[in-house]
């Protein structure tokens, strides 16, 4: 490069000097210089025109006129052009590969900007949710996926979990949509087909409901005859004990079947009614009364700190209280204490059952609401429980827009509580709180 530059400068100087020398020879130095300058200019213009033509025609193969620094310029330009062509080709291939792999994905993927406008979508998104790759570019995603639940999900800004919506393509289909933020201000919307999963859940639920239902009639016959036999004075005395046990087991089975049926009913039902008012304190009082007569139970304290009422299903809330209370009593020694508390604040109301019983190891707490789960497998089931109580409580609370919270300290006791939002709670205007009744 340095040599070429020097040669250009030296070459031009020699031409000019030659012109001046010839002019001096004819005693017209100025004319000689002018002629030399014109010569140099003509040569440069010619090179420039050739260069321009080569660029215009994109043909760099023949630089017949490329000389000196111009030929270097030509070859450098042509080389860089070829290289950028190669880069472009590589990029195009890469983009094609990426697109191919995203199109091969079974789940729909859509790239959105932070205004929720569609930038890119793959084939599965077109198939699952009816997007169109070219037409929908720049369209807001909720203009195509118009389910109100999805719109609420987008505007909530909370993308930790997905949202389940009905498919707009398949009448019986269900989709789960989830937003994953990534990069600078970009979002990835993932759409997954969960029709099959939902169908399986429904099938399982129906199976449990049908099986329980089918078990009911034979059980009625068995326990009916058992009752008759137990009260028959002609039955020999040594049959007394077996009959008693058979009766107890038949009763237990009846209870299991009834609770399984209740559970599958709760699973299938939507939200609890919002027009029925429940007097929670009244229920607590009546439940306590029914327990009072029993011997060897721990002391039950009632703290009704509010006369707030709840919107929901009366029978179900009673079932929650009974289940939590019997559970607490079962795991609390006779000299212990169980407290039922109902209190309201500005965000709603809270129902809590606290005991001073054995407590629960932390690793068991998440599994407590599973069906038939027992903390202590060795502990016999003949204490009256069937292992479905907390599962029922969990489902009832879900129906009432609430959930069960469990805190426990092994050896010190446990606290089962649930919080109801203010839209489910009705606080009467007269504020006559009944404080800490016994």
């Amino acid at each position: 490069m340095q040599i070429a530059r020097r040669r250009v400068i030296v070459g031009h100087l020699i031409v000019l000097a030659g012109g001046a020398l010839i002019g001096w020879f004819y005693s017209h130095v100025d004319w000689g210089l002018l002629a030399a300058a014109l010569l140099a200019l003509g040569w440069n213009v010619r090179q420039l025109l050739v260069f321009e033509q080569a660029v215009r025609e994109k043909n760099f193969r023949h630089f017949r006129y490329g000389e000196g620094i111009w030929s270097q310029l030509f070859s450098r330009f042509s080389y860089q052009r070829g290289q950028s062509k190669q880069y472009k080709k590589n990029y195009r291939r890469l983009v094609k590969e990426v697109r191919k792999s995203t199109n091969a994905m079974p789940d729909g993927g859509i790239i959105l900007n932070n205004e929720f406008e569609i930038l890119l979508c793959n084939k599965a998104a077109q198939r699952l949710a009816g997007f169109r790759r070219r037409q929908d570019k720049g369209q807001r995603v909720d203009n195509i996926l118009r389910d109100p639940a999805f719109g609420a999900y987008l505007s909530s800004g909370d993308f930790k979990e997905g949202v389940e919506i009905r498919s707009s393509v398949d009448a019986d289909g269900w989709l789960i949509c989830r937003i994953v933020p990534y990069g600078a201000d970009q979002l990835l919307l993932l759409i997954q087909d969960i029709t099959e999963r939902r169908r399986l859940t429904t099938t399982r639920r129906e199976f449990v409901a049908n099986a329980s239902h089918e078990l009911r009639s034979p059980l009625t016959v068995v326990s009916g005859y058992l009752d008759t036999m137990a009260s028959d004075p002609d039955i020999p005395a040594h049959w007394g004990r077996p009959l008693e046990q058979m009766q107890a087991q038949a009763n237990r089975m009846n209870k299991i079947v009834a609770e399984l049926l209740e559970l599958s009913r709760l699973e299938g039902a939507g939200a609890a009614p919002t027009d029925e008012l429940i007097d929670v304190c009244g229920i607590i009082a009546s439940v306590k009364k029914s327990m009072d007569g029993q011997s060897d139970v721990p002391e039950i304290r009632v703290e009704c700190q509010s006369d707030a009422q709840l919107f929901g299903s009366n029978a179900e809330i009673e079932s929650v209280i009974v289940n939590l209370l019997t559970n607490a009593i079962r795991y609390t020694p006779h000299d212990g204490q169980v407290t039922l508390r109902w209190a309201a604040d500005e965000d709603g109301a809270e129902l809590a059952v606290t005991d001073t019983g054995d407590g629960i190891e932390p690793e068991h707490i998440p599994r407590l609401t599973e069906r038939f789960f027992r903390v202590d497998a060795g502990r016999s089931r003949d204490d009256g429980g069937v292992g479905l109580g907390l599962a029922i409580v969990k489902h009832i609370l879900e129906r009432h827009d609430s959930h069960l919270e469990i805190e426990s300290q092994p050896g010190a006791g446990s606290r089962f509580s649930c919080h109801f939002g203010s839209d489910r709670v009705n606080v009467p205007s007269s504020k006559n709180f009944k404080h800490a009744q016994r």
């Binding site: 009816g130 369209q139 909720d142």
Partner: protein, 237 residues
Amino acid sequence: MEASDITDHISKRFNKDLEDLRNSVLTMGGLVETQLSKAIAAIVRGDSALGLKVANDDYKVNNLEVNIDEECSRILATRAPAAGDLRLIVAIIKTITDLERIGDEAEKIGFLASKLAVMDRPPDSYRELKNLGNHVLQMLRDAMNAFARLDVAASLDVVKEDEEVDAEYEAIARQGITFMMENPHNIKRVMNVTWVARALERIGDHSKNICEYVIYMVEGRDVRHTDIVESGDVSSD
């Protein structure tokens, strides 16, 4: 006119106003679609609680209509839009009226579903209503998609579809008459079924109207009460 043409003004606020307006019409469409799909599910499953929920939720559709209407008046008054923008606003004002009517029909279907749920159910659990309902729901979805994409070709398809819906309604009505003649005991139930079918058929008509507004909005041609399907000269897209 392309979807992006709407947002092509010097005033950014105006762009945003128009874009928000369009989005809220589609939100309203989504709500109406959900109402209709729930109402159909209530009929098919005999779920009276779901039917009543649909009937009770109709106020949400009405509220949206009022809000969008107000916003349209505000834009007309403050911006005095012309040409494509004016057509957009006019089309929106008409579209939301039809959407609100569809909401009313869905409310009616939900209410009838709660009444039908406590009556005898035919062994096919109203398959013909389910088919008609899904057909009409698809029409409504296609109409809203065409509105979102300003798609004239898709609008024309929906307009054509309406004839099939009318034929299906005729078939259900005729079948109902046969049932009633066979056994007068059926009259009360079949009357309700016919009302549902009638409501669904009306929803088909409203969806067709929405598509005609889309054609008007994009092409500036009023194709109501003309045989646009046969003449086919609007398909110049």
